[in-house]
């Protein structure tokens, strides 16, 4: 999945029209510890670009869990939901970005959903409350998750002012999102976030 995303990012790099610069964003928690797997998006005011649509993504249901927990897809991606469990699942989303229900599909059945609208989609299973997964439908080419050091580097970010958003499933803010502006020639940004504890069934490092 990550690898796939890197390939996708490399694609973005090749098509950069503007003078590119490296933008580094760092996310730490209240105690100053790096926060990994936070989704950072840069929206430049000039030279904005959507990621290339298409590609096929899979979010499986196995052992009463979604796999993977977090998926970043470009707008217009299709995601298939194969069920490897013996039980039926009722996958749903009430997220404004994509509302859907995949009602009671059994083992080895797979459904595919098309995501045409940018935003965060929270997935749940109406049968199994502990099942949770997130899909970030990206509408900006500069969308990536933080690494273990809590940083994201956009090597080809246009040297333009804009805004940066940080989303994390447990971030304590409306819609789990924080944002800040980026000035011209500003090549780094830092977010200090407050996280609420994950639900009991969820490991912190998903």
């Amino acid at each position: 999945m990550v690898r796939r995303f890197l390939v996708f990012a490399a694609g973005l790099l090749l098509t950069a029209p503007l003078a590119a610069a490296v933008l580094t964003v760092r996310v730490v928690d209240a105690a100053g510890r790096p926060v990994r797997d936070a989704v950072v998006t840069f929206y430049p005011s000039a030279g904005a670009r959507t990621p290339r649509p298409g590609g096929h993504y899979v979010i499986s249901q196995q052992n009463l869990q979604f796999h993977p927990f977090l998926t970043i897809v470009p707008v217009g991606a299709d995601i298939s939901f194969p069920n490897f469990d013996n039980t039926k699942h009722h996958v749903y989303s009430f997220s404004p970005a994509k509302r859907f229900e995949l009602k009671l599909f059994a083992k080895d059945q797979s459904r595919t959903v098309h995501f045409e609208k940018a935003g965060v989609v929270a997935l749940g299973c109406n049968i199994h409350d502990q099942m949770s997964a997130f899909i970030v439908v990206a509408d900006s080419a500069w969308t990536a998750r933080t690494n273990a050091q809590g940083t994201v580097e956009f090597g080809d970010a246009p040297n333009a002012p804009g805004r940066i958003t940080v989303w994390h499933p447990y971030l304590r803010a409306p819609n789990g999102t924080m944002q800040q502006g980026l000035a011209l020639n500003q090549h780094s940004a830092s977010f200090s976030v407050r996280l609420r504890p994950p639900p009991p069934s969820m490991p912190m490092d998903y």
């Binding site: 009430f94 749940g124 299973c125 109406n126 949770s132 819609n175 609420r196």
Partner: protein, 779 residues
């Protein structure tokens, strides 16, 4: 304490104070403990009531939360909330609130939108709940529209958190009353909540909330301990428990109040009872201590008093009760008193009684005597003093031993006491006894008593197997005729006693004035006798003894003469007894021996000298030494000295006398038995000692020619003496016929006026010078 004079008071006060202090301390401790225990119990009851409230609270919260969670999980409801379907949200919420009987319910969405079923709560207040909800607060008290309420929330997950369902239950008086009813004690319950710095009373029956009480309650919330506070005008024990609040900065307190008067009513009763019992106990203890002290000190006081009386000479006894130490002390005291009495009697007895016979002694006799004199002076009555002296007591004592003598004295005392019943009988010492007899008009009673005494004493008795026939002599003086004082009376009775003795013993004699005269003469004689030796008033005369076989003088008997300067020549018969009584015979006898030996040393060698020796010299004088010294100084051959003794020396100290005689004979001194044939003449003496000579008493010679049998006796004596190889001398030969007769009987020698009267030493010397030794003419 020291000021208490009585031991009883001191004991009472000390012990009472001690016990009272202990009792008060115990009571105080108990009272404090009761109060503490009651307080703890009340607090415990309050705590448990608080715990009950906690449970109620929890159950209610659980019920509400379960309902909220149920609603929050409903897919349709979640879909409605997620999609903002207001109508569906309102209806679902209203339905649940009605089912739970909750007046207010609302939904707070994650982005802060509110959907409420109770329009009375301002949205602004509701919106403030977002922060605590977002922080995960799901249960707690919060003030909404001016009223504290219990809030319970459940998150709506779709699947991420999209909002919360919140139920707000009223904390109304009904609920508080329910809590009050559940409690085991009659308490008042109230919930206080603080909103915007203002305390509100949620509910409850206290209805007397003031800022003061609220802050007081707040300050005690943290300690968790009960405290006292006025609730509704009543002092109460109050427990303040913190209640969880929904939002930070809010505070809620559960107040549980227990009116103190009710809470501690039982303890008060208990304390009152304790106080009453303590007081009663103090009274009882004081009384008991007083009684106990009395029991201890009463016997002591009695002993004290008895000891005081004992000191004054009274013979007291204390009553003994029980068997404790005090009783033993009392017993010992009584025994001590008994012993003191006994000792006093013994001392009196010793002071006034003779130990051996038990008769009153001389001291008591004198007292009695004086008493009788006084009585006599008063009423002119007469009384007689009998002085007794056992005859021959000294001889019995010496021959049979002192224990026998003592036995005789005891027996005599008993007989005397019996014979003289009703009269005072005493022992003055030795064998001297006295009887004081009161005499009425009949003077014959005196004679009768004397005779009774004589016959009583004269009964035979056996001592150590020896049969004795004791006898006594009695001298009687009658007061006041024979003496106006004890001394005179006793002396006169003694004189009478001498007379009785002289009269032959075993008889009694009355005092007469002549006796007094004689006694004075005798005393004069005594004092003259003492001086006679110093003044050289004694002189020896010598009477020759004529040997009938050799027809010559063979010996001279030395005879003592006293030339008294006033009375002239005094007969030895008059002064020798006095000299013997006074012991003067010892120096006089020694002088005689020395003088006779010195004289005889000048005589021709064949002439012996004979000296009379008194028994007193034998027993008291150092006769042996005297003779040895006389022989040594004069150079007289021992066989020229002949001592003449009488049988009476054998009456006292037989063994000693015999040893002495043998000793004298061993050195060659000759021993002659004088006055043979009179007195107790016993032939056994002749067997026990080898006498050199028997001197036949002059009474036989005197009667030789006139009385029948005298000749036969003289013949028998000479025959016996010849048979034993003993010489014989006839004394008092005055006639030639007597001489012829004696010659015929074979008598060895003669002595008497027929040959020569006693002559002076000078005449003897002259005789030898004239060489007229042979007086054969006469024969």
């Amino acid at each position: 304490m020291r000021s208490f004079r009585s031991l009883s008071t001191r004991l009472t006060v000390q012990f009472a104070l001690l016990f009272a202090a202990a009792m008060l301390a115990v009571s105080a401790a108990l009272s404090t403990f009761i109060a503490g225990a009651a307080s703890r119990e009340v607090e415990g009851q309050l705590q448990s009531s608080g715990a009950v409230y906690d449970r109620l609270w929890e159950e209610r919260a659980n019920e509400l939360q379960n309902a909220a969670q149920l609603l929050a999980r409903d897919f349709g409801f979640r879909a409605a909330v997620a999609t903002g379907d207001q109508a569906t949200m309102q209806s679902a919420l209203g339905n649940a609130a009605a089912r739970l009987k909750v007046r207010s319910a609302f939904i707070v969405t994650a982005d802060g939108k509110i959907t409420a079923v109770d329009p009375s709560i301002p949205a602004a207040e509701t919106r403030q709940l977002w922060d605590p909800l977002d922080e995960g607060r799901l249960i707690g008290v919060s003030v909404l529209s001016g009223r504290p309420r219990q809030l319970v929330a459940a998150p709506i997950m779709a699947p991420t958190l999209i909002g919360w369902v919140v139920f707000a239950a009223d904390l109304d008086p009904r609920e508080m009353r329910g809590l009050e009813r559940l409690s085991a004690i009659p308490l008042h319950a109230a919930v206080l909540a603080q909103a915007k710095g203002r305390w509100l009373e949620a509910a409850g029956s206290m209805s007397a909330l003031s800022g003061e009480t609220a802050s007081l309650a707040e300050s005690h919330v943290r300690t968790g301990a009960a405290f006292e506070m006025r609730v509704a005008g009543e002092k109460s024990i109050v427990l303040a428990k913190p209640l969880p609040t929904f939002a930070d900065g809010q505070r809620a307190i559960l107040l549980l109040a227990y009116p103190k008067s009710q809470a501690l009513a039982d303890a008060r009763k208990l304390q009152l009872a304790l106080a009453a019992m303590t007081f009663l106990g103090l009274l009882l203890m004081g009384f008991a201590t007083w009684r106990a002290a009395g029991r201890i000190t009463q016997p002591l006081a009695r002993l004290d008093e008895a000891a005081g009386r004992l000191a004054t000479g009274e013979h007291v006894q204390v009553r003994v009760r029980g068997s404790d130490e005090l009783a033993r002390l009392a017993t010992s005291f009584n025994e001590m008193v008994g012993k003191i009495v006994e000792r006093e009697q013994r001392i009196t007895q010793l002071a006034f009684n003779d130990v051996l016979t038990g008769l009153p002694n001389r001291t008591m006799f004198h007292q009695q005597l004086e008493q009788l004199f006084r009585a006599s002076e008063g009423n002119g009555s007469l009384f007689a003093l009998h002085c007794l002296d056992l005859d021959q007591f000294k001889a019995i004592n010496d021959t049979l031993g002192h224990p026998a003598g003592d036995a005789l004295l005891v027996e005599a005392a008993q007989r005397l006491r019996h014979a003289a019943r009703g009269s005072f009988v005493g022992r003055l010492g030795g064998d001297e006894f006295v009887v004081l007899q009161s005499v009425g008009p009949d003077r014959g009673a005196i004679d009768r008593l004397a005779r009774d005494i004589l016959s009583a004493i004269a009964q035979p008795l056996t001592i150590d197997g020896n049969e004795l026939v004791p006898s006594t002599s009695i001298g009687i003086a009658i007061a006041p005729d024979d003496g106006n004082d004890g001394g005179t009376l006793l002396r006169n009775a003694d004189l009478a006693l001498y007379r009785a003795k002289e009269a032959g013993r075993g008889t009694y004699a009355f005092f007469e004035e002549s006796l007094n005269q004689r006694a004075q003469e005798r005393r004069q004689l005594e004092s003259d006798l003492r001086l006679a030796l110093e003044r050289g008033e004694f002189e020896l005369h010598y009477q020759p003894l004529f040997d009938l076989e050799q027809n010559r003088i063979c010996s001279f008997e030395a005879l003592l003469r006293w030339n008294h300067p006033k009375r002239g020549l005094i007969s030895p018969a008059d002064f020798v007894p006095v000299a013997e009584d006074t012991g003067l015979i010892v120096p006089i006898g020694a002088w005689v021996i020395r003088e006779a030996c010195a004289e005889a040393a000048d005589w021709p060698g064949q002439i012996r000298v004979a000296v009379n020796v008194s028994p007193v010299q034998f027993h008291r004088g150092a006769l042996h030494e005297t003779i040895l010294r006389a022989l040594a100084t004069t150079g007289l051959a021992p066989n020229r000295l002949e001592i003449e003794i009488t049988e009476s020396i054998f009456l006292e100290g037989g063994e000693t006398t015999l040893r002495l005689l043998h000793a004298l004979r061993a050195i060659g001194v000759r021993v002659a038995l004088d006055d043979f044939g009179t007195g107790y003449s016993s032939l056994s003496y002749l067997q026990s000692f080898p006498f050199d000579k028997l001197k036949i008493d002059r009474s036989f010679i005197h009667n030789l020619l006139t009385r029948d049998g005298a000749s036969a006796i003289v013949h028998a004596i000479t025959e016996l003496a010849n048979a034993l190889g003993i010489e014989t001398t006839a004394e008092g030969v005055e006639e030639t016929a007597q001489l012829m007769e004696l010659r015929a009987h074979g008598c060895s020698s003669v002595q008497g006026f027929l040959f020569a009267e006693p002559m002076t030493a000078a005449d003897v010397s002259q005789l030898f010078r004239d060489d007229r030794i042979a007086l054969s003419d006469v024969a």
